[in-house]
Symmetry: C2
Subunit: 187 residues, 2 copies
Amino acid sequence: MNEVLEHFSKYIQVSPELEREIMKRVHLHTFKKGELIHDARNICIESFFIREGILRTYFIKDGKEITEYFSTAGEWTNSPKSFMQRKLDIYSIDAIEDTKVFRLNVEDLVYLFHNFPEMDRYARLSMGTLVGHLLERITSLRFTSAKEKYDHFRETYHDIYHRVPLNMIASYLGISPETLSRLRAEK
Amino acid sequence: MNEVLEHFSKYIQVSPELEREIMKRVHLHTFKKGELIHDARNICIESFFIREGILRTYFIKDGKEITEYFSTAGEWTNSPKSFMQRKLDIYSIDAIEDTKVFRLNVEDLVYLFHNFPEMDRYARLSMGTLVGHLLERITSLRFTSAKEKYDHFRETYHDIYHRVPLNMIASYLGISPETLSRLRAEK
DNA sequence: TTCATTTCTTGATCTAGGTCAAGCCCTGTT
DNA sequence: AACAGGGCTTGACCTAGATCAAGAAATGAA
Protein backbone atom coordinates (compact mmCIF):
# COMPACT_ATOMS: atom_id res chain seq x y z
CA MET A 1 0.00 0.00 0.00
CA ASN A 2 1.37 3.42 -0.80
CA GLU A 3 1.87 6.37 1.52
CA VAL A 4 -1.28 8.28 0.62
CA LEU A 5 -3.51 5.35 1.45
CA GLU A 6 -1.59 4.76 4.65
CA HIS A 7 -2.30 8.35 5.53
CA PHE A 8 -6.05 8.05 4.95
CA SER A 9 -6.07 4.79 6.89
CA LYS A 10 -4.94 6.63 9.99
CA TYR A 11 -8.32 8.32 10.13
CA ILE A 12 -10.82 6.13 8.31
CA GLN A 13 -11.34 2.62 7.01
CA VAL A 14 -10.44 2.82 3.31
CA SER A 15 -12.72 0.56 1.30
CA PRO A 16 -11.28 -1.18 -1.79
CA GLU A 17 -13.46 1.00 -3.93
CA LEU A 18 -12.30 4.25 -2.33
CA GLU A 19 -8.74 2.98 -2.61
CA ARG A 20 -9.19 2.43 -6.31
CA GLU A 21 -10.67 5.87 -6.84
CA ILE A 22 -7.90 7.55 -4.87
CA MET A 23 -5.16 5.72 -6.72
CA LYS A 24 -6.71 6.64 -10.03
CA ARG A 25 -6.49 10.32 -9.16
CA VAL A 26 -3.16 10.66 -7.45
CA HIS A 27 0.00 11.11 -9.52
CA LEU A 28 3.59 10.74 -8.41
CA HIS A 29 5.92 13.57 -9.35
CA THR A 30 9.40 14.77 -8.38
CA PHE A 31 10.33 18.42 -7.89
CA LYS A 32 13.92 19.59 -8.01
CA LYS A 33 15.47 21.60 -5.21
CA GLY A 34 14.52 25.26 -5.57
CA GLU A 35 11.67 24.56 -7.96
CA LEU A 36 8.48 26.59 -7.61
CA ILE A 37 5.57 24.25 -7.02
CA HIS A 38 2.80 26.73 -6.61
CA ASP A 39 2.96 30.36 -7.68
CA ALA A 40 0.85 32.87 -5.75
CA ARG A 41 -0.07 34.50 -9.06
CA ASN A 42 -2.24 31.49 -9.85
CA ILE A 43 -5.15 29.89 -8.11
CA CYS A 44 -4.01 26.72 -6.37
CA ILE A 45 -5.76 23.77 -7.97
CA GLU A 46 -3.73 20.94 -6.53
CA SER A 47 -2.78 19.44 -3.20
CA PHE A 48 0.58 17.76 -2.74
CA PHE A 49 1.13 14.79 -0.49
CA ILE A 50 4.80 14.58 0.36
CA ARG A 51 6.51 11.24 0.07
CA GLU A 52 10.03 12.53 0.78
CA GLY A 53 11.74 15.92 0.87
CA ILE A 54 10.72 19.31 2.22
CA LEU A 55 8.38 21.95 0.85
CA ARG A 56 8.13 25.49 2.08
CA THR A 57 5.03 27.68 1.98
CA TYR A 58 5.95 31.36 1.97
CA PHE A 59 4.79 34.81 0.99
CA ILE A 60 6.37 38.16 0.25
CA LYS A 61 6.18 40.94 2.81
CA ASP A 62 8.06 44.21 2.33
CA GLY A 63 10.07 42.54 -0.40
CA LYS A 64 11.18 39.68 1.82
CA GLU A 65 10.17 36.04 1.72
CA ILE A 66 8.41 35.03 4.92
CA THR A 67 8.08 31.32 5.62
CA GLU A 68 4.60 30.40 6.71
CA TYR A 69 5.45 26.76 7.40
CA PHE A 70 7.44 23.75 6.29
CA SER A 71 5.85 20.52 5.09
CA THR A 72 7.51 17.16 5.22
CA ALA A 73 6.97 13.50 4.44
CA GLY A 74 3.50 12.24 5.26
CA GLU A 75 1.77 15.63 5.05
CA TRP A 76 -0.55 17.29 2.58
CA THR A 77 0.17 20.81 1.52
CA ASN A 78 -1.37 23.46 -0.72
CA SER A 79 -2.29 27.14 -0.54
CA PRO A 80 -5.23 26.55 1.82
CA LYS A 81 -7.54 29.48 1.12
CA SER A 82 -6.76 29.52 -2.56
CA PHE A 83 -7.36 25.79 -2.86
CA MET A 84 -10.55 25.69 -0.85
CA GLN A 85 -12.17 28.85 -2.07
CA ARG A 86 -10.74 28.88 -5.59
CA LYS A 87 -9.41 32.37 -5.42
CA LEU A 88 -6.00 34.02 -5.36
CA ASP A 89 -4.04 34.14 -2.14
CA ILE A 90 -0.58 35.30 -1.10
CA TYR A 91 1.19 31.96 -0.68
CA SER A 92 3.70 30.32 -2.95
CA ILE A 93 5.29 26.93 -2.37
CA ASP A 94 8.74 25.79 -3.36
CA ALA A 95 11.03 22.83 -2.79
CA ILE A 96 13.79 23.13 -0.20
CA GLU A 97 15.33 19.92 -1.50
CA ASP A 98 14.44 17.36 -4.17
CA THR A 99 10.93 16.31 -3.20
CA LYS A 100 8.68 13.44 -4.28
CA VAL A 101 4.99 14.15 -4.04
CA PHE A 102 1.63 12.73 -5.00
CA ARG A 103 -0.44 15.37 -6.74
CA LEU A 104 -4.19 15.55 -6.36
CA ASN A 105 -6.41 17.91 -8.29
CA VAL A 106 -9.19 19.93 -6.60
CA GLU A 107 -11.82 18.52 -8.87
CA ASP A 108 -10.71 15.00 -8.11
CA LEU A 109 -10.82 15.74 -4.41
CA VAL A 110 -14.31 17.18 -4.77
CA TYR A 111 -15.31 14.03 -6.59
CA LEU A 112 -14.08 11.96 -3.68
CA PHE A 113 -15.98 14.10 -1.18
CA HIS A 114 -19.15 13.80 -3.21
CA ASN A 115 -19.01 10.07 -3.66
CA PHE A 116 -17.51 8.86 -0.43
CA PRO A 117 -19.17 10.25 2.69
CA GLU A 118 -16.37 8.79 4.81
CA MET A 119 -14.14 11.45 3.27
CA ASP A 120 -15.99 14.08 5.29
CA ARG A 121 -15.17 12.09 8.36
CA TYR A 122 -11.53 11.94 7.29
CA ALA A 123 -11.51 15.71 6.80
CA ARG A 124 -13.14 16.35 10.14
CA LEU A 125 -10.64 14.19 12.01
CA SER A 126 -7.52 15.31 10.20
CA MET A 127 -8.52 18.95 10.60
CA GLY A 128 -8.82 18.26 14.30
CA THR A 129 -5.13 17.51 14.49
CA LEU A 130 -4.37 20.55 12.34
CA VAL A 131 -6.34 22.76 14.72
CA GLY A 132 -4.34 21.28 17.59
CA HIS A 133 -1.07 22.24 15.91
CA LEU A 134 -2.28 25.75 15.16
CA LEU A 135 -3.36 26.32 18.76
CA GLU A 136 0.01 25.14 19.93
CA ARG A 137 1.75 27.50 17.57
CA ILE A 138 -0.37 30.38 18.81
CA THR A 139 0.60 29.61 22.39
CA SER A 140 4.23 29.40 21.41
CA LEU A 141 4.08 32.76 19.65
CA ARG A 142 2.41 34.43 22.59
CA PHE A 143 4.55 33.25 25.46
CA THR A 144 7.93 32.01 24.47
CA SER A 145 11.25 33.80 24.08
CA ALA A 146 13.35 33.57 20.94
CA LYS A 147 15.48 30.91 22.59
CA GLU A 148 12.49 28.79 23.54
CA LYS A 149 11.08 29.10 20.04
CA TYR A 150 14.31 27.89 18.58
CA ASP A 151 14.60 24.99 21.03
CA HIS A 152 11.02 24.01 20.36
CA PHE A 153 11.64 24.13 16.63
CA ARG A 154 14.63 21.85 16.96
CA GLU A 155 12.59 19.36 18.91
CA THR A 156 9.54 19.27 16.69
CA TYR A 157 11.40 19.58 13.39
CA HIS A 158 14.33 17.56 14.64
CA ASP A 159 14.92 15.77 11.36
CA ILE A 160 14.82 18.82 9.11
CA TYR A 161 16.24 21.76 11.04
CA HIS A 162 19.74 21.28 9.70
CA ARG A 163 18.47 20.88 6.14
CA VAL A 164 16.73 24.25 5.98
CA PRO A 165 18.55 27.59 5.56
CA LEU A 166 18.70 29.60 8.75
CA ASN A 167 16.94 32.66 7.43
CA MET A 168 13.89 30.62 6.48
CA ILE A 169 13.73 29.19 9.97
CA ALA A 170 14.12 32.69 11.40
CA SER A 171 11.21 34.08 9.40
CA TYR A 172 9.10 31.06 10.31
CA LEU A 173 9.77 31.67 13.99
CA GLY A 174 9.25 35.39 13.64
CA ILE A 175 12.71 36.35 14.84
CA SER A 176 15.62 37.96 12.97
CA PRO A 177 18.31 35.81 11.33
CA GLU A 178 20.93 37.56 13.46
CA THR A 179 19.21 36.61 16.69
CA LEU A 180 18.82 33.05 15.51
CA SER A 181 22.48 32.86 14.59
CA ARG A 182 23.45 34.11 18.04
CA LEU A 183 21.19 31.58 19.74
CA ARG A 184 22.71 28.84 17.72
CA ALA A 185 26.23 29.98 18.59
CA GLU A 186 25.72 30.24 22.33
CA LYS A 187 25.53 26.51 22.83
CA MET B 1 -36.29 28.27 13.98
CA ASN B 2 -33.86 28.73 16.81
CA GLU B 3 -30.27 29.97 16.67
CA VAL B 4 -28.59 26.57 16.81
CA LEU B 5 -30.46 25.32 13.80
CA GLU B 6 -29.77 28.54 11.97
CA HIS B 7 -26.13 27.96 12.67
CA PHE B 8 -26.13 24.44 11.24
CA SER B 9 -28.08 25.66 8.23
CA LYS B 10 -25.20 27.91 7.28
CA TYR B 11 -23.19 24.81 6.41
CA ILE B 12 -25.60 22.01 5.63
CA GLN B 13 -29.19 21.32 4.72
CA VAL B 14 -30.85 20.35 8.03
CA SER B 15 -33.43 17.63 7.46
CA PRO B 16 -36.57 17.64 9.63
CA GLU B 17 -35.34 14.49 11.25
CA LEU B 18 -31.95 15.94 12.11
CA GLU B 19 -33.67 19.06 13.34
CA ARG B 20 -35.80 16.98 15.69
CA GLU B 21 -32.79 15.09 17.01
CA ILE B 22 -30.81 18.25 17.58
CA MET B 23 -33.68 20.00 19.38
CA LYS B 24 -34.17 16.99 21.62
CA ARG B 25 -30.55 17.20 22.80
CA VAL B 26 -29.94 20.89 23.16
CA HIS B 27 -30.94 22.69 26.37
CA LEU B 28 -31.24 26.39 27.00
CA HIS B 29 -29.53 27.70 30.10
CA THR B 30 -28.50 31.07 31.53
CA PHE B 31 -25.21 31.75 33.29
CA LYS B 32 -24.74 34.72 35.58
CA LYS B 33 -21.93 37.19 35.10
CA GLY B 34 -18.76 35.80 36.67
CA GLU B 35 -20.05 32.25 36.83
CA LEU B 36 -17.65 29.39 36.06
CA ILE B 37 -19.04 27.37 33.18
CA HIS B 38 -16.29 24.86 32.76
CA ASP B 39 -13.62 24.13 35.36
CA ALA B 40 -10.23 22.90 34.10
CA ARG B 41 -10.19 20.39 36.95
CA ASN B 42 -12.89 18.42 35.14
CA ILE B 43 -13.07 16.83 31.74
CA CYS B 44 -15.23 18.97 29.47
CA ILE B 45 -18.29 17.00 28.50
CA GLU B 46 -20.41 19.78 27.02
CA SER B 47 -20.33 22.32 24.25
CA PHE B 48 -22.05 25.65 24.61
CA PHE B 49 -23.71 27.50 21.78
CA ILE B 50 -24.02 31.14 22.74
CA ARG B 51 -27.32 32.87 22.18
CA GLU B 52 -26.34 36.13 23.85
CA GLY B 53 -23.58 37.33 26.13
CA ILE B 54 -19.84 36.72 26.25
CA LEU B 55 -17.84 33.75 27.44
CA ARG B 56 -14.13 33.73 28.04
CA THR B 57 -11.82 30.75 27.77
CA TYR B 58 -8.73 31.15 29.92
CA PHE B 59 -5.98 29.32 31.73
CA ILE B 60 -3.61 30.01 34.59
CA LYS B 61 0.04 30.74 33.87
CA ASP B 62 2.41 31.81 36.64
CA GLY B 63 -0.59 32.48 38.84
CA LYS B 64 -2.24 34.80 36.33
CA GLU B 65 -5.33 34.27 34.24
CA ILE B 66 -4.50 34.32 30.53
CA THR B 67 -7.39 34.75 28.11
CA GLU B 68 -7.20 32.28 25.25
CA TYR B 69 -10.18 33.74 23.43
CA PHE B 70 -13.62 35.29 23.78
CA SER B 71 -16.76 33.67 22.43
CA THR B 72 -19.89 35.52 21.50
CA ALA B 73 -23.39 35.09 20.12
CA GLY B 74 -23.62 32.53 17.32
CA GLU B 75 -20.52 30.57 18.28
CA TRP B 76 -19.88 27.21 19.88
CA THR B 77 -17.37 26.98 22.68
CA ASN B 78 -15.86 24.28 24.88
CA SER B 79 -12.43 23.19 26.06
CA PRO B 80 -11.44 21.77 22.67
CA LYS B 81 -8.87 19.12 23.49
CA SER B 82 -10.64 18.06 26.64
CA PHE B 83 -13.95 17.78 24.84
CA MET B 84 -12.68 15.93 21.81
CA GLN B 85 -10.24 13.60 23.47
CA ARG B 86 -12.02 13.19 26.79
CA LYS B 87 -9.07 14.10 28.91
CA LEU B 88 -8.07 16.94 31.22
CA ASP B 89 -6.77 20.18 29.75
CA ILE B 90 -5.76 23.59 31.08
CA TYR B 91 -8.73 25.68 30.01
CA SER B 92 -11.58 27.00 32.12
CA ILE B 93 -14.51 29.01 30.81
CA ASP B 94 -16.47 31.71 32.60
CA ALA B 95 -19.12 34.29 31.83
CA ILE B 96 -18.05 37.89 31.28
CA GLU B 97 -21.67 38.98 31.45
CA ASP B 98 -25.01 37.21 31.85
CA THR B 99 -25.00 34.70 29.04
CA LYS B 100 -27.70 32.51 27.48
CA VAL B 101 -26.46 29.29 25.94
CA PHE B 102 -27.67 26.05 24.46
CA ARG B 103 -25.86 23.14 26.06
CA LEU B 104 -25.00 20.00 24.14
CA ASN B 105 -23.51 16.91 25.70
CA VAL B 106 -20.56 15.04 24.10
CA GLU B 107 -22.46 11.82 23.94
CA ASP B 108 -25.37 13.51 22.25
CA LEU B 109 -23.02 15.05 19.73
CA VAL B 110 -21.42 11.68 19.09
CA TYR B 111 -24.89 10.27 18.54
CA LEU B 112 -25.53 12.93 15.92
CA PHE B 113 -22.23 12.21 14.18
CA HIS B 114 -22.98 8.50 14.12
CA ASN B 115 -26.50 8.81 12.77
CA PHE B 116 -26.27 11.77 10.44
CA PRO B 117 -23.39 11.63 7.97
CA GLU B 118 -24.08 15.23 6.95
CA MET B 119 -22.79 16.19 10.41
CA ASP B 120 -19.28 15.24 9.26
CA ARG B 121 -19.72 17.58 6.38
CA TYR B 122 -20.88 20.31 8.78
CA ALA B 123 -17.80 19.71 10.94
CA ARG B 124 -15.47 19.79 7.97
CA LEU B 125 -16.86 23.06 6.70
CA SER B 126 -17.13 24.84 10.03
CA MET B 127 -13.62 23.77 10.97
CA GLY B 128 -12.49 25.32 7.72
CA THR B 129 -13.59 28.72 8.93
CA LEU B 130 -12.00 28.06 12.31
CA VAL B 131 -8.69 27.21 10.65
CA GLY B 132 -8.95 30.46 8.70
CA HIS B 133 -9.34 32.45 11.92
CA LEU B 134 -6.44 30.67 13.58
CA LEU B 135 -4.14 31.33 10.62
CA GLU B 136 -5.09 34.97 10.73
CA ARG B 137 -4.35 35.14 14.42
CA ILE B 138 -0.96 33.54 13.86
CA THR B 139 -0.13 36.15 11.23
CA SER B 140 -1.25 38.89 13.55
CA LEU B 141 0.91 37.59 16.39
CA ARG B 142 3.96 37.33 14.17
CA PHE B 143 3.94 40.66 12.43
CA THR B 144 1.92 43.31 14.17
CA SER B 145 2.86 45.84 16.81
CA ALA B 146 0.92 46.25 20.03
CA LYS B 147 -0.94 49.17 18.50
CA GLU B 148 -1.93 47.23 15.42
CA LYS B 149 -3.08 44.32 17.55
CA TYR B 150 -5.27 46.60 19.57
CA ASP B 151 -6.72 48.32 16.51
CA HIS B 152 -7.38 44.97 14.92
CA PHE B 153 -9.10 43.75 18.06
CA ARG B 154 -11.35 46.78 18.10
CA GLU B 155 -12.36 46.15 14.53
CA THR B 156 -13.04 42.45 14.76
CA TYR B 157 -14.55 42.51 18.24
CA HIS B 158 -16.16 45.86 17.68
CA ASP B 159 -19.33 45.02 19.58
CA ILE B 160 -17.69 43.59 22.68
CA TYR B 161 -14.44 45.43 23.25
CA HIS B 162 -15.98 47.94 25.62
CA ARG B 163 -17.77 45.21 27.56
CA VAL B 164 -14.65 43.25 28.46
CA PRO B 165 -12.18 44.31 31.20
CA LEU B 166 -8.96 45.74 29.82
CA ASN B 167 -6.62 43.26 31.44
CA MET B 168 -8.42 40.33 29.81
CA ILE B 169 -8.05 41.95 26.42
CA ALA B 170 -4.39 42.59 27.19
CA SER B 171 -3.67 38.97 28.01
CA TYR B 172 -5.59 37.84 24.93
CA LEU B 173 -3.45 40.09 22.74
CA GLY B 174 -0.28 39.08 24.53
CA ILE B 175 0.59 42.58 25.67
CA SER B 176 0.75 44.08 29.15
CA PRO B 177 -2.25 45.92 30.64
CA GLU B 178 -0.09 49.01 31.04
CA THR B 179 0.81 49.11 27.36
CA LEU B 180 -2.80 48.60 26.40
CA SER B 181 -3.88 51.41 28.68
CA ARG B 182 -1.34 53.75 27.10
CA LEU B 183 -2.45 52.81 23.59
CA ARG B 184 -5.99 53.49 24.52
CA ALA B 185 -5.05 56.89 25.99
CA GLU B 186 -3.04 58.13 23.04
CA LYS B 187 -6.04 58.61 20.84
C1' DT C 1 40.85 26.78 -9.34
C1' DT C 2 38.86 31.08 -9.18
C1' DC C 3 35.39 34.19 -8.76
C1' DA C 4 30.69 35.47 -7.44
C1' DT C 5 26.82 34.96 -4.83
C1' DT C 6 24.43 33.60 -1.18
C1' DT C 7 24.45 32.28 3.75
C1' DC C 8 26.07 32.97 8.25
C1' DT C 9 28.39 35.31 12.12
C1' DT C 10 29.68 39.01 15.14
C1' DG C 11 29.67 43.69 16.89
C1' DA C 12 27.47 48.22 17.96
C1' DT C 13 23.44 50.63 18.56
C1' DC C 14 18.39 51.48 19.22
C1' DT C 15 13.62 50.84 20.55
C1' DA C 16 9.07 48.68 21.61
C1' DG C 17 7.17 47.14 25.10
C1' DG C 18 7.76 44.81 29.71
C1' DT C 19 8.21 45.42 34.81
C1' DC C 20 7.78 47.83 39.07
C1' DA C 21 5.53 51.22 41.69
C1' DA C 22 2.29 54.64 43.10
C1' DG C 23 -1.97 56.80 42.95
C1' DC C 24 -6.82 57.42 41.23
C1' DC C 25 -11.36 56.16 40.19
C1' DC C 26 -14.95 53.42 40.18
C1' DT C 27 -18.65 49.97 42.04
C1' DG C 28 -20.61 47.50 45.45
C1' DT C 29 -21.11 46.31 50.42
C1' DT C 30 -21.98 47.32 55.17
C1' DA D 1 -21.69 57.81 54.03
C1' DA D 2 -17.56 55.35 54.18
C1' DC D 3 -14.37 52.22 53.00
C1' DA D 4 -12.49 48.14 50.54
C1' DG D 5 -10.99 45.98 46.47
C1' DG D 6 -10.74 45.69 41.78
C1' DG D 7 -9.86 48.14 37.50
C1' DC D 8 -7.31 51.68 35.20
C1' DT D 9 -3.73 55.21 34.42
C1' DT D 10 0.75 57.29 34.51
C1' DG D 11 5.70 57.60 35.38
C1' DA D 12 10.54 55.77 35.62
C1' DC D 13 13.35 52.35 34.40
C1' DC D 14 15.14 48.10 31.99
C1' DT D 15 15.80 44.36 28.83
C1' DA D 16 15.01 41.22 24.71
C1' DG D 17 15.52 41.37 20.43
C1' DA D 18 15.49 44.39 16.07
C1' DT D 19 18.28 46.92 12.90
C1' DC D 20 22.44 48.39 10.66
C1' DA D 21 26.90 47.22 9.14
C1' DA D 22 30.83 44.67 7.89
C1' DG D 23 33.33 40.65 7.33
C1' DA D 24 33.84 35.35 7.05
C1' DA D 25 32.52 31.07 5.28
C1' DA D 26 30.23 28.11 2.34
C1' DT D 27 28.25 26.92 -2.19
C1' DG D 28 28.22 26.60 -6.83
C1' DA D 29 29.08 28.05 -11.54
C1' DA D 30 32.59 28.67 -15.21
